[in-house]
């Protein structure tokens, strides 16, 4: 399935956000997810992905 992750088109096998994080080897728990420009709460990370979805995977970073 073709989706966009952090602005980059990718071919992925995963069918949910949770599986996608594992497939792309994200570790830890400090992530927030936006799916098609809307925040996807952690409780909904089982949501099924569909072709063309745009996913943003966000973590804390330095800021002013």
């Amino acid at each position: 399935m073709r989706v966009t992750v952090n602005g980059e088109p990718r071919e992925v096998a995963s069918e949910s956000i949770e599986a996608l994080l594992a497939e792309l080897e994200y570790e830890g728990t400090h992530f927030a997810i936006a799916l098609n420009y809307d925040v996807l709460p952690r409780s909904q990370w089982q949501t099924r992905l569909k072709s063309g979805d745009e996913i943003e995977i966000i973590t804390p970073r330095q800021g002013g």
């Binding site: 080897e25 994200y26 925040v39 973590t59 804390p60």
Partner: protein, 260 residues
């Protein structure tokens, strides 16, 4: 004590977490500043990356309150979505709201800012809007529900200090019950002291400390500048005047009116 929405803090210096020479210096500088509130951002994490996790561990060790920002957002939609991501990530209703109009000056887009502040306030956020010194805009932000307003001193990272002192003074006078923070453009502890002397509740800065030759020592200098400025404000500054007025008593001056 200074109040941000329903929470009170002892330090009137809010500090950024970016641009330090190393993570260890960032931690030491934040500690030396005495700040209770630290700004952070949210960014994309690359696959397999651990940058965010490492940074977050350092911040958590500091026992500070985080104020996430929407730095880099150039539209209302981006800013609102970024604020929601920050709320999800940090579990706080606080957001330092930035909507940027121009990349070279980082001039706030005040029209988008008011719109985004209104949307976020209705959604339960407690908004800290980064704005210009324009009183009309500040009043619109208050109308939108902001109880904190953060006008710039000068463009972000410029170190110029307060460019439009009269406008900042006017904003302080007109928005007496709003927590006002001078955010951005401060370069020296004397600039921070000036903001506090004007009656501003706090200052927010990053670059002036992070880019100093000795960030930890500069963090302490800013802490002292903020404390001095606040103490001066509470002590009540005298009014400026145009002519000299002798401080030493005139009566009894030796040779007074004596013939030459």
């Amino acid at each position: 004590m200074v109040k941000f929405y329903d929470r009170e803090f002892s330090s009137r210096l809010l500090i950024g977490s970016a641009l330090y020479p190393s993570p260890a210096i960032m931690q030491a500088a934040i500690r030396a500043s005495g700040a209770n509130i630290v700004t952070v951002s949210v960014r994309r994490e690359s696959a397999g990356g651990k940058t965010g996790h490492a940074f977050w561990s350092l911040i958590r060790e500091l026992d500070v309150t985080v104020l996430p920002n929407t730095a880099g957002c150039r539209s209302v939609r981006e800013a609102v979505t970024t604020a929601k991501l920050a709320r999800e990530l940090f579990g706080t209703p606080w957001i330092k709201l930035e909507v940027i109009a121009d990349d070279d000056t980082l001039q706030p887009d005040v029209v988008g800012l008011v719109e985004a502040a209104s949307i976020l306030t209705r959604d339960g956020f407690q908004v800290f809007p980064y704005c210009t010194e324009d009183l009309g805009v500040a009043m619109r932000l208050v109308d939108a529900g902001c109880r904190v307003v953060m006008p710039w001193a000068a463009p972000i990272g410029s170190a110029k200090g307060i460019i439009n002192r009269d406008a900042l003074k006017l904003m302080r006078d007109r928005l007496g019950d709003i927590t006002l923070v001078v955010d951005a453009g401060l370069g020296a502890p004397s600039h921070a002291a000036e903001a506090l002397e004007l009656g501003y509740d706090a200052v927010l800065l990053n670059t002036a400390i992070a880019k100093a030759a000795e960030p930890v020592a500069m963090a302490k200098a800013f802490r002292l500048g903020v404390e001095a400025g606040r103490a001066a404000f509470e002590a009540g500054l005298m009014e400026a005047r145009d002519f000299a007025s002798p401080s030493t008593p005139v009566v009894g001056t030796p040779f007074w009116h004596a013939a030459p």
